[in-house]
Amino acid sequence: DVKVTQSSRYLVKRTGEKVFLECVQDMDHENMFWYRQDPGLGLRLIYFSYDVKMKEKGDIPEGYSVSREKKERFSLILESASTNQTSMYLCASSPYSAKTVGYTFGSGTRLTVV
């Protein structure tokens, strides 16, 4: 019954590594989002995409990039991982008009950068 799948639950990476976080949804949703979740800061939007090959910066895009080559897949890339990117990363998807059904989130990837 899982609709949004994030490829890893836990990741440990070294400072300076290039990190790929993968997200796949099977609901044919147009919109996909990447958030990071930190205690006391809530969910902060990193990047989002309203269509294949489209991407827009969210509130905290610095140090990140994204790729959306297929409708169902949205990848988050940490170009050179740093310790301040240690966090929980959440992927979400929604239909074009999100106001009737809301976002569907994946279970998250907890990334630790050492």
Binding site: Q37, G42, L43, S97, K99, Y103
Partner: protein, 111 residues
């Protein structure tokens, strides 16, 4: 303008109590206000949502109260149960559909 401020950060109540979580926003263009519930190890899930043309919405034991003039909305959980222990997020969006989330409230309901 884009912020949604949520309080308290954490909340402990006894079983049967009525926890209340509050959110405030600045952007008057926001027209959709959902609440999400997150259990440990899971992603947030939509719990209940309201639009600014109504002042209250109930779904089971969960109620949203909305005050448009004060730009505030709140979540009330009636007859709270230990199974309601979770992190709750308020959010807001405008026509663009992009959700802005509050800081989250960690609720613990004691037996």
């Amino acid at each position: 303008q884009q912020q949604v401020k949520q309080s308290p950060q954490s909340l402990i109540v006894q079983k049967g109590g009525i926890p209340i979580i509050n959110c405030a926003y600045e952007n008057t263009a926001f027209d959709y206000f959902p609440w999400y519930q997150q259990f440990p190890g899971k992603g947030p899930a939509l719990l209940i949502a309201i639009r600014p043309d109504v002042s209250e919405k109930k779904e089971g034991r969960f109620t949203i109260s909305f005050n448009k003039s004060a730009k505030q909305f709140s979540l009330h959980i009636m007859d709270s149960q230990p199974g309601d222990s979770a992190t709750y997020f308020c959010a807001a969006s405008n026509q663009g559909g992009k959700l802005i989330f509050g800081q989250g409230t960690e609720l613990s309901v004691k037996p």
